[in-house]
Symmetry: C2
Subunit: 329 residues, 2 copies
């Protein structure tokens, strides 16, 4: 089956299950406004990639139990919580073409709904995945916050290294994707080696995903991505292409880049100029190369396993890597 | 030993343990700004009553294990998380005489630190208390969010009943205090009856605490409470004294109360007038009576148990009730 179809089929099952969860909250008497906001925040779109990874990883380890969907959905709850709080932090005016929760329902509702989803996610990981899974999950959520702090700190550091960048994206994105895979493996009864391999796969997939995301922020077609170009620069976020350019630029170009990057107004107005300078120093090409090498590491983590025992899941996991690297939105 | 001394001794042990937790985070390489904010948010004062209840409940059930402190501290982490997010929501300018986290470190840091503490608390409840404790804990955190939503909704409802009020304070305050006791009982190996009794004790103690808190908001001495008078009214929060007055006032007084309560400027300016009207209809007296009856229910939940097996803990738990009812700050 084509990956696109696998994603669509599993996403439909996850959506169905999340609707059941919300109905259950409703029947327990939770506040109607909370229910309304949960529906708004959870069904605004999205491919459900994180829960899909949990499901594929569990099956990769030989588990055919349908209960894994309940565990997997927790990743979608956590993801929604972090998007809601991130949008507050970034003062975002749009999320997938719609108003973010804080714009539509207010700051109070956004903070509270994020808190609710975070604790709801944890309760479900503990209930359906046990203590070992919750420990992995919490490690990832702590990492997410730590990654955001690093990003805050790095925003004031104009001399960042590739390592600084990777420590941010590990926390922000990759640890959680690694956790989605590892928790699936734990649920599926995979041994330590399988757990480790799937976690490595997920972490590298997550890094590749984030590098491509950061590339699309400069190079994407707004009609495809649904986002305007240069958001990261505007917010003062230093991503890999710019880090490479700053490392390599001659004195004149470096001075010009630094003058733009350290001034909020220039950052918003001079996206094209920054892009041209990044391009001049091969920042985009080399970031793409890095993403491809990272994606390759993800695929290599699975080499020699699963070909006979889980050929469908293995193909899907490998194809996901290719999809992440080639996406234009 | 006097309750004051028990509180001081246990609070010192909990503080010590929290400092060790933070050192551990530091040595794991968490971002220095996160560490700084955690220290700021966790050691701004506070009597550590929630963890104390966990410890006393565990000992009440016969547990002398020192490990209970690690579990108990989770309640302080959760409490700090909720204060940080609440201060953002309320736009608070002060917390225990100091700047709240969002004022001192910014909105981003406040949201992130709250998220971190929430997931840190859950990880520790799961690790030191197991899945049963985490389920109780998450039930309380969901209830907290639900209570806030009810409060939002009720703020627009000028015809509230005592039940509406209790459903808000159950979520906001009492369920969590009940959970602190119940999780202590679970840790201490208490049977279902003991668990239930300690949970009932905690829930009623929490309700009594909140009613007194709401009374102090009108009647407290700012030099003792550290808070100005009439905050709740200013924020449009309908608490028990006002609910009683609205239920009982004659047509003229009711119209006057409603006119003030539904207008933001009048709410801020006419605290004294509202207080006089509440007093006229015995709103304060009856709210205090309700608090006392609720506190009595807390004490009755423990009647006939623990007198021989845990006399010190029982005395402390009973004294806590008296303390909550008689406090002036």
């Amino acid at each position: 089956m084509e990956l696109k179809n696998v994603i669509a089929r599993e996403a439909a099952k996850i959506d169905q299950l999340m609707r059941e969860d919300i109905s259950e909250l409703e029947s327990k008497g939770f506040d109607p406004l909370l229910i309304e906001i949960l529906e708004y925040a959870l069904f605004v779109g999205g491919k459900r990639v994180r829960p899909l990874l949990t499901i594929l990883s569990a099956r990769f380890c030989g588990c055919s139990d349908e209960g894994v969907y309940r565990l997997a959905a927790a990743f979608e709850y956590l993801h929604a919580a972090s998007l809601i709080h991130d949008d507050v932090i970034d003062g975002a005016a749009e999320r997938r073409g719609a108003a973010p929760v804080h714009e539509k329902f207010g700051l109070t509702a956004a903070i509270l709904t994020g808190d609710f989803l975070l604790s709801f996610a944890m309760e479900r990981v503990s209930r359906f995945g046990g203590a070992a899974s919750l420990a992995i999950f919490c490690n990832a959520t702590s990492g997410m916050v730590d990654g955001e702090y690093r990003q805050l700190r790095n925003a004031r550091n104009l001399d960042q290294s590739e390592d600084d960048y990777f420590s941010v994206i590990m926390g922000k994105t990759a640890l959680l994707i690694g956790a989605a895979c590892e928790i699936g493996a734990v649920y599926g009864g995979g041994d330590d080696e399988l757990r480790g391999r799937l976690q490595t796969y997920g972490v590298n997939l997550g890094c590749a995903f984030q590098i491509i995301d950061d590339l699309l922020d400069y190079q994407g077609d707004p009609n495809r991505t649904g986002k305007s170009v240069g958001n990261d620069l505007g917010e003062g976020k230093m991503t890999l292409p710019l880090i490479y350019a700053l490392q390599r630029a001659d004195a004149t170009d470096r001075a010009q880049l630094l003058s733009i990057v350290s001034d909020e107004r220039q950052r918003a107005e001079k996206v094209a100029e920054v892009s041209a300078l990044i391009d001049k120093y091969h920042g985009f090409d080399d970031a793409r190369e890095k993403a491809e090498a990272t994606g390759k590491r993800a695929m290599e983590a699975l080499s020699g396993i699963g070909d006979e025992t889980a050929p469908v899941e293995k193909a899907a996991l490998l194809e996901l890597c290719a999809y992440v690297l080639n996406r234009d939105k």
